[in-house]
């Protein structure tokens, strides 16, 4: 590729990203509405369940771990999953309302557009999750700089991976009606299987297999580890609720590599499927 073409594609990716961010920033009601769900889950669902669900109680003889703190990383993940996939799937709206054509006839490659769109979705999702992260002190998790610096890149990587998944789906989707199907048969399972709401240990084999192929699981687990460690929860308890692969606890480094691999695969699919449309 010539330098001129590279530059045109960088501009293309930038402007597609910028438009998504601008639209997000302008739509304050969306920001507020998207915040409502995590708050609902965290304070009502979480508080309600914590009495019935004593996670890790007794494991390692520690004081145990209350459910709200356990699910806090899950709520962060939920925010990322929903925001990034929905943002990326705005391609379907753009197609419906015609703006996609303006993008597709502009002198830039489809790869640049898909990449810009993926970055737009991840930025928006990451920002939205950061707002949820600010609620951490309310559930007894101190927001230390090191926690924020650990969690943000993980959120971004997970958001990027899921944005690519969203673009891949949107490229194949031809009708608005299909949206509900994706929501029910893909998005909710993706969330439930990620370990957002229950530990992925001691599960029946079929369920265990399904959870291990959910990319979001490799995002939830390291975030949870960081959050619980910052909250001063007994390391043995943290390990007890952690993700295992073939019986071994998976390190954050390995999880980043796995999530990165998922992201690369999803990006490849997103670029290929998005480019294939005419």
């Amino acid at each position: 590729m010539s330098g001129k073409r590279v530059r045109a594609n960088l501009r293309g990716a930038y402007i597609v990203w910028y438009r998504d961010v601008l639209r997000y920033w302008r739509d304050r009601t969306r920001i507020a509405a998207a915040l409502g769900q995590p708050v609902l889950y965290l304070f009502i669902f979480g508080t309600g369940l914590s009495s019935a669900f004593a996670v890790g109680r007794g494991a390692g003889g520690g004081a145990g771990l209350d459910y709200v703190r356990f699910m806090f990383p899950g709520v962060l993940a939920m925010t990322v999953i929903f925001t990034s996939i929905f943002s990326a799937m705005s391609i379907v709206w753009d197609r419906e309302f015609g703006f996609l054509r303006e993008i597709l006839v502009a002198p830039m490659s489809r790869t640049a557009v898909a990449f810009g769109k993926a970055l737009g979705g991840s930025t928006v999702a990451c920002f939205q999750a950061s707002i949820v992260l600010l609620l951490a002190p309310l559930v007894g998790i101190p927001l230390t700089p090191s926690l924020v610096l650990t969690v943000l890149p993980l959120l971004f990587l997970m958001a990027f991976c899921l944005s690519c998944v969203g673009i891949a789906i949107a490229s194949k989707m031809r009708t608005m009606e299909a949206f509900q199907v994706v929501m029910n048969f893909f998005l909710m399972p993706l969330l439930f299987l990620s370990g957002a709401f229950f530990p992925l240990t001691g599960l029946p084999v079929w369920l265990e297999v399904l959870t291990r192929i959910d990319p979001a699981a490799y995002g939830v687990d390291p975030i949870r580890r960081a959050v619980l460690e910052a909250a001063g929860v007994d390391p043995a308890v943290v390990r007890a609720v952690g993700l295992t692969l073939f019986g071994e606890t998976v390190s954050t480094g390995t999880e980043v590599v796995i999530l990165g691999a998922f992201a690369l695969l999803a990006l490849t699919l997103a670029v290929r499927w998005f480019s294939a449309q005419e």
């Binding site: 501009r11 601008l22 302008r26 197609r95 996609l100 054509r101 303006e102 002198p107 449309q277 005419e278």
Partner: protein, 326 residues
């Protein structure tokens, strides 16, 4: 040099051949029109020339660049105005233009000046900071005209630029479009199924079933109809047809309960015709040939304007832009 050159271009959707080996050239500065009913292959051809659809066979160049191999160069040379809007409703008019300018690498000082000038031209300067979703259909179309010209394209493609707009707005849009050639020296390539709009073109290609059936100036096309067109309704069309053949030596044909024939001087022919027919005549109409008559003569069918309901065009568009027959 011809700014558009098309050679034996073919596009198939599965078993359906939408464009069937068409060839034509468009000269720089020309207003060139594609006329034909819905589904004739107009939008598919434009889609290929704009690099949105890959040709199945044949080749086409726009501004000297191949639409398949030099897509980015082609895209930089063209502006597009489509029948349904392609604006971002949640951005302001100015932001829509800014997006376009950035994507087409128009230097920012130039983009600013140019968008001021174009917004002035389409009379939207005072609405530049309003969200596009608050605009009427005509305003949106005008904004698209401005946006399509922002990067100084050599050729502007207009696919049914006035479809679904009221007559007053249609006239408004056309004044801009025709003013463009003078101001900008831009070549205009448009599709339409409105006959009166096609009259504005320097040359017209009549397209039907994916093939070009005629290509000429509007006046030459109309000259291929032999003089004036006489349309009459009688109580017994078959009998009248025989009488016309016997008395005047003219062939006529019946279509939709009406008898049509072509004569050199219709106004002088009518009195003789009325005297010469024995049956009762319900109505007689005589008119100079229109492009409608040309189309009817060439294809045996009328371009029915009511065909182009917005749902039809939506369906057609969705087939073309959204998927390969899925």
């Amino acid at each position: 040099m011809d700014i558009v050159e098309v050679e034996r271009l073919v596009r198939r959707y599965g078993p359906l051949t939408a464009v069937d080996g068409i060839s034509f050239q468009v000269g720089a500065g020309e207003v060139f029109g594609f006329l034909g009913p819905n589904g004739a292959g107009k939008s598919t051809t434009i889609g290929m020339l704009c690099t949105l659809l890959r040709p199945t066979e044949g080749r086409a160049t726009v501004n000297g660049f191949d639409v398949g191999r030099q897509a980015d160069e082609v895209r930089r040379s063209i502006g597009l105005i489509f029948q349904d809007p392609s604006l971002d409703n949640y951005l302001t008019a100015q932001e829509n233009l800014d997006f376009h300018a950035f994507a087409y690498d128009v230097p920012s000082f130039e983009a600013r000046e140019r968008s001021n000038e174009l917004l002035e031209m389409v009379e939207l300067a005072d609405r530049r900071n309003d969200l596009v979703k608050t605009f009427s259909g005509g305003m949106k179309r005008r904004l698209e005209v401005a946006r399509g010209l922002l990067h100084r394209p050599r050729i502007l493609f207009l696919d049914e630029p006035t479809l679904g707009l009221d007559p007053q707005t249609r006239g408004h849009i056309w004044r801009y479009i025709l003013g463009l050639r003078e101001r900008e020296g831009v070549t205009l390539f448009l599709t339409t199924h409105y006959m009166d709009e096609a009259e504005n073109c320097d040359r017209i290609a009549i397209i039907d079933h994916g093939k070009i059936v005629a290509l000429d100036t509007p006046s030459n096309l109309k000259a291929c109809v032999g003089g004036d067109v006489v349309v009459l309704k009688t109580d017994d069309n078959a009998h009248a047809e025989q009488e016309i053949r016997a008395r005047f030596g003219l062939e006529s044909e019946t279509r939709d309960g009406e008898l049509r024939l072509e004569v050199p001087r219709g106004d002088e022919f009518i009195p003789a015709l009325v005297r010469g027919l024995s049956g009762r005549i319900a109505s007689v109409d005589v008119h100079r040939p229109t492009l409608d008559d040309v189309f009817l003569k060439l294809t045996g069918r009328a371009i029915r304007e009511e065909d182009a309901s917005s749902t039809d065009s939506m369906r057609q568009m969705s087939r073309i832009w959204m998927g390969r027959g899925r």
